[in-house]
């Protein structure tokens, strides 16, 4: 057991200027989590207002309140905001705030990373909304299918904002996801083996793993779109051999898991609330946990059910129908676990549990219409109609929004130190429940009556207006309910430490939790330690609040402590890194030179980041694996895109000669050598030094090889996809070389740099794989 690293305390005295900048330097999980929730709440308000605007427009036929230009921006912003600025950030933010308390940890693994992600989220959200206020918001739907979103048909700023902000937001989502995975795997308190981990933490773990696997496809997709729009590549444009459907495959590979990504933590919240308010341990804990994992896994096999009407060869086999249906089984497990607790336990109908009944009713209806549209034939009838609008609003209101309302009320004592006003809460539940059903149920019928979605107006006399009017009335009821909910949270009273009699560790902390929330970390012996170990209960013995930043790192399976780490103090580095990243990604909106400037600043800030706290624990090398998985999904997306284009393009390679070998074979060899280098060379310094040189050589080969070609990214689709692959390989090589250089520095300066070296080796190994794969694809692909 070693204890090295930064010993600054979060509240220790610091210089004058630092105190002024406290707001921008904050890294504590509870503060960042609260900021996530507040910012997400504001975006929820904006998205809610835009939905009411749409409902008013659609209340009567042939309404001329909004023109199509405005309506298209409003409905796009509603979807984009709810998906990217509300659902994911709020779910991640709640997890950032609550997960450490549930697993008995004083802090997250990498508080600076979460802070960085929060700033990125804020910047990306502001960038997107700036568009609407300039009347140039994205207007091609949250799905922005090309060619509609390509430069030929959407010349305005809007789609550029979409295609640059989304990658920014997704990088933020992936960063926080890696944070949550590593924290849950390594920061659980002593004795909290995986089978004693609260189900909410399980659901967050699965959500975060899914984010790491799913989001990179969308990052790739949106960046390719922006490249099409700004530098003249032709990934999605059929004129130069591109394929509009490539976008849809990548989009839905992300897009369907996305739905389950935001659903899973909702299910975890429900499990927490139900067990507390029925005083009943979740039945069949291991089956429920397995159900959460199954949902996550199967959701990656269902994306093509969004494309049943495209005549893609994936349809007609029944595979995607079967996969879509099978995902209902784990959802059923979780619903029946809830029902069993309600029946077998002792329900106390407080506000959070009332919301859970709303979840059961609404989510089950959404799930059952999901069973209906799993049918390929029925799906092809109702896709892109109001039936789908009704379906997914039932699943998302039932599985995401209502569980969040339950969870925020439930955890308000920890988030704000207060207990919501019960009467207002009950009234808000009644209105929200009525409002959701009134708003969305009639839309099923509008869809069955043949009404397509995404229409800014509709003719009278087609039997649609009654449903639309009801829905508009319902949206006001729903809105009023949400307002009452917010008032209920504000008009609250100071909360006791354990107002609900919960069984998990967050109820052993004060309300609001002290910093740090735990002193000496408890040893737990059950999944509900506060119920089963009375000595832990705050009533019996306030957990001794020792001001220390030492945090044990525990084993993944059994939660046994193996080493001690510390947590970094306030720092401005995350904000600086977020600004630099934004320069890189939003740069194309201003000038390509801004991108280069951003890259340079980012490199400098990342070095400062590493030097600020050079010691890396075993959680650090686990995080490196997380980053490599995300980067690997980017590589996989690009290689899949290459394969898809090669298969679909009428001529392949598209009017370009086969790529010459002399400079690509060395790249292949270097890639393979990098993989085995740490095994061949014992000396850490020698091995890292050699890796840096090899990466530099490979980069040089790729650059020279690309420059020698007589075609480029703008020539046609082959040039475009080759350019993307080469660019990614170069970026991976540079990042890995940078990591290796920092690890080399740490190895020279610190006694114990084993984990830093391990993390860097993971990086150089990945760069090796990337170089080898890219070289192979370029050599073989153009000779097919």
């Amino acid at each position: 057991v070693t204890a090295v690293g930064d010993t600054r305390l979060p509240s220790a005295a610091r210089g004058q200027w630092a105190r002024v900048g406290d707001f921008f330097c904050e890294v504590s999980h509870l503060t960042i989590g609260r900021r996530y929730l507040v910012t997400g709440g504001l975006f929820f308000l904006l998205a809610g207002i835009s939905s009411v605007v749409m409902r008013v427009q659609l209340a009567i036929p042939d309404n001329e309140l909004l023109g199509s230009e405005t309506y298209n921006q409003v409905f796009t912003m509603h979807g984009v905001t709810m998906m990217f600025l509300v659902a994911i950030p709020v779910m991640e933010g709640l997890a950032v705030a609550m997960v450490p308390l549930l697993i008995g940890s004083k802090e997250l693994s990498f508080p600076r990373l979460t802070s960085y992600a929060y700033w990125l989220f804020l910047i990306g959200g502001i960038a997107l909304w700036t568009g609407l206020f300039l009347h140039h918001a994205p207007d091609a739907g949250w799905f922005s299918y090309p060619p509609l979103s390509e430069g030929r048909y959407a010349r305005e700023l809007g789609i550029d904002l979409y295609a640059t902000s989304i990658p920014l937001l997704e990088i933020a989502a992936v960063a926080t996801a890696i944070e949550l995975v590593v924290t849950i795997l390594t920061h659980r308190t002593q004795g909290m083996s995986l089978n004693r981990t609260p189900l909410y933490a399980w659901s967050v773990l699965v959500m975060a793993v899914m984010i790491v696997f799913a989001m990179p496809a969308l990052i790739v997709d949106t960046l390719l779109l922006e490249a099409d729009r700004t530098i003249g590549t032709s990934f999605f444009s059929d004129a130069a051999g591109g394929q509009p459907l490539l976008w849809q495959h990548l989009f839905w590979f992300f897009g369907h898991p996305e739905v389950y990504i935001i659903l899973l933590p909702g299910l975890g919240i429900v499990a927490s609330v139900v067990s507390t308010f029925t005083h009943h341990a979740t039945p069949a804990y291991s089956i429920v946990a397995a159900g959460l994992i199954l949902i996550g896994a199967v959701s990656f096999a269902v994306w093509a059910h969004h494309m049943f009407a495209t005549s893609e060869p994936v349809s007609g086999l029944g595979f995607f129908s079967a996969a879509t249906l099978s995902i209902v089984i784990p959802s059923g497990i979780i619903v029946f676990a809830t029902l069993a607790s309600l029946w077998l336990g002792h329900p106390r109908w407080r506000v959070p549990l009332l919301y859970v009944t709303g979840y059961v009713w609404i989510f089950v209806i959404g799930g059952l219409t999901g069973v209906q549209i799993a049918s390929e034939a029925f799906n092809q009838q109702v896709t892109d109609t109001y039936f789908i609008v009704a379906h997914f609003h039932y699943t998302l209101m039932g599985g995401v929004v209502i569980p969040l309302l339950a969870g925020i009320w439930y955890w308000w004592p920890k988030l704000a130190g207060r207990e919501g006003n019960e009467a207002l809460g009950v009234a808000s539940f009644a209105l929200v429940f009525l409002g959701v059903n009134l708003t969305f149920f009639p839309l099923h019928l509008a869809g069955l009556a043949g009404m397509p979605r995404r229409v800014y107006t509709y003719p009278s006399g087609l039997g649609w207006e009654g449903y639309q009017l009801l829905s508009t009335l319902g949206s006001f009821v729903l809105g009023l309910g949400l307002v009452l909910y917010a008032v209920g949270l504000v008009a609250s009273r100071p909360a006791e430490d354990d107002p609900w009699g919960g069984g998990t560790l967050e109820w052993a902390t004060t309300s609001p939790p002290a910093r740090p929330a735990f002193g000496i970390l408890p040893r737990v012996e059950s999944a509900y330690p506060l119920w089963d170990q009375p000595e832990l209960h705050p009533r019996e013995r306030r957990l001794e609040n020792v001001l220390t930043v030492d945090i044990p790192i525990t084993t993944v399976l059994d939660g046994e402590p193996v080493e001690v780490t510390t947590t970094p103090g306030p720092t401005v580095v995350p904000l600086a890194a977020a600004v630099a990243t934004s320069l890189v990604l939003l740069g194309p909106l201003l000038d390509p030179a801004v991108v280069l400037l951003g890259l340079v600043v980012l490199a400098i800030v990342l070095v400062a980041w590493a030097l600020e706290r050079p010691w890396v624990g075993s959680d650090g090398s686990k995080a490196a694996w997380g980053a490599v998985v995300a980067a690997g999904m980017i590589l996989a997306s690009l290689v899949s895109a290459y394969g898809f284009l090669a298969l679909r393009s009428p001529i392949w390679p598209y009017h370009v000669p086969p790529r010459p070998l002399p400079l690509l074979l060395p790249v292949l060899v270097i890639g393979l050598v990098l993989l085995v280098l740490p095994l061949l060379v014992r000396s850490v310094t020698l091995s890292l030094g050699a890796a840096i040189l090899l990466l530099a050589a490979a980069t040089a080969c790729l650059v020279v090889d690309s420059v020698r070609l007589d075609y480029n990214w703008a020539t046609n689709v082959t040039g475009s996809i080759e350019f993307a692959l080469v660019l990614f390989a170069i970026l991976a090589a540079c990042a890995a070389a940078g990591g290796a250089a920092l690890a080399l520095l740490a190895a020279l300066r610190l006694d114990d740099a084993a984990h830093a070296v391990r993390a860097a080796t993971v990086g150089t190994g990945f760069a090796g794989v990337t170089l080898a794969v890219v070289a192979c694809v370029l050599v073989i692909g153009s000779r097919l």
Binding site: S68, P244, L339, F378, A449, P452, G463
Partner: protein
């Protein structure tokens, strides 16, 4: 569940009543997919009712448990009661309700789904001898009968009972061809062709829409499917194959000259005249069509005049520009176009 079935029944009733009102030119009747009039849509509407019965039963069960646990005599929460009591019962609930029940229901439904889609797609290539190319444009439908050498727009004519083979594509962005009462959607994707067939078992006019978001006037991109008895269809074909009729009045003649000497002719074709543009709809028999402007306006002289005089007012963003014409010219052009039957 009761509320839901009641609503569906109501919607079907509405649809039925509206259909009873007859084939109004603008297709103003509820295009309910449950009021199926084509072979393809009938398979799906039958499937819908089977689904509804199955998921309705499941929902009734869940709702009953939920309501019962809420209203039954409250069991007093007891601090002494172990939160781990009733463990075996809880597991049984999860296995019976969460695993066994969905496995049974979903397996049965999956059988129906595969059966239906297999039935529909095994016949996918068995369209009739008539082939129709459906080409999406922003924001209108180009309809061509390549073997019959007919070109029209926003109007798909087919014989009652016969299958017509469809080849669907797009000239610009992605659209989707959908006639709810007749068949499922086929996406219109630039650079690729989606195929299928369509049939109507009853004469009438059926409303079709673009159902993939395609930009500013997505909401107003429609077409009308006219199902005619065989004899009337044959007559329509013979007429549609002919070149445009010669103008018979002075006003019509003047209208033709205005049309062919102005910007109109650069975008539109009228076979038998010098107008040969291929950017907008072929207008050779525009006078015989039930509707114009992406089938959002009934084909009346007034609507025609309003559309020509100010297309951007009718459909903001439409590709058709306003061509400056004086009152007389406009009247003549309307007279000429309405004469193209």
């Amino acid at each position: 569940m009761k509320r839901r079935s009641a609503g569906v029944v109501a919607s079907v009733l509405c649809a039925g009543l509206a259909v009873g009102c007859g084939d109004s030119p603008a297709g103003r009747s509820t295009p309910s997919l449950l009021d199926a009039k084509g072979e393809d849509a009938r398979v799906v509407s039958t499937e819908f009712w089977i689904q509804l019965a199955a998921v309705g039963l499941v929902f009734a069960l869940v709702a009953a448990i939920l309501v019962a646990s809420f209203v039954r005599e409250r069991r007093r929460a007891s601090e002494e009661a172990s939160p781990h009591a009733h463990h075996a019962e809880g597991v049984a609930w999860v296995i019976v309700g969460g695993i066994a029940l969905p496995v049974v229901v979903l397996s049965a439904l999956f059988f129906v789904y595969v059966h239906d889609i297999a039935r529909l797609s095994s016949q996918e290539d068995r369209g009739g001898p008539i082939v129709v190319d459906v080409i999406g444009h922003r924001w209108w439908w180009e309809i061509r009968y390549p073997k019959l050498r007919i070109a029209t727009a926003n109007q798909l004519v087919l014989p009652v009972g016969g299958r017509v083979a469809l080849r669907v594509t797009s000239k610009d962005v992605i659209h989707s061809f959908w006639v709810p009462q007749l068949r499922r959607k086929i996406d219109a994707i630039p650079g690729s062709i989606g195929s299928g067939w369509i049939s109507a078992q009853q004469a009438g006019i059926y409303r079709g829409v673009c159902s993939e978001f395609c930009g500013l006037q997505h909401a107003r991109m429609q077409l009308l499917v006219q199902a005619m008895p065989q004899a009337r269809f044959a007559e329509w074909v013979r007429n549609a194959q002919r070149a445009a009729p010669q103008p018979s009045t002075a006003s019509e003649r003047a209208g033709r000259d205005v049309f062919t000497h102005n910007a109109c002719a650069t975008c539109h074709t009228i076979r038998g005249t010098t107008a040969g543009g291929n950017f907008g709809p072929d207008l050779t028999h525009v006078g015989s069509r039930p509707a114009i402007a992406g089938a959002v306006l009934a084909n009346t002289p007034g609507n025609m005049g309003g559309w020509i005089a100010d297309p951007q007012h009718v459909k903001p963003g439409a590709e058709m520009p306003a061509v400056p014409l004086n009152g007389t010219q406009l009247r003549d052009v309307i007279a000429y176009l309405e004469s193209l039957r």
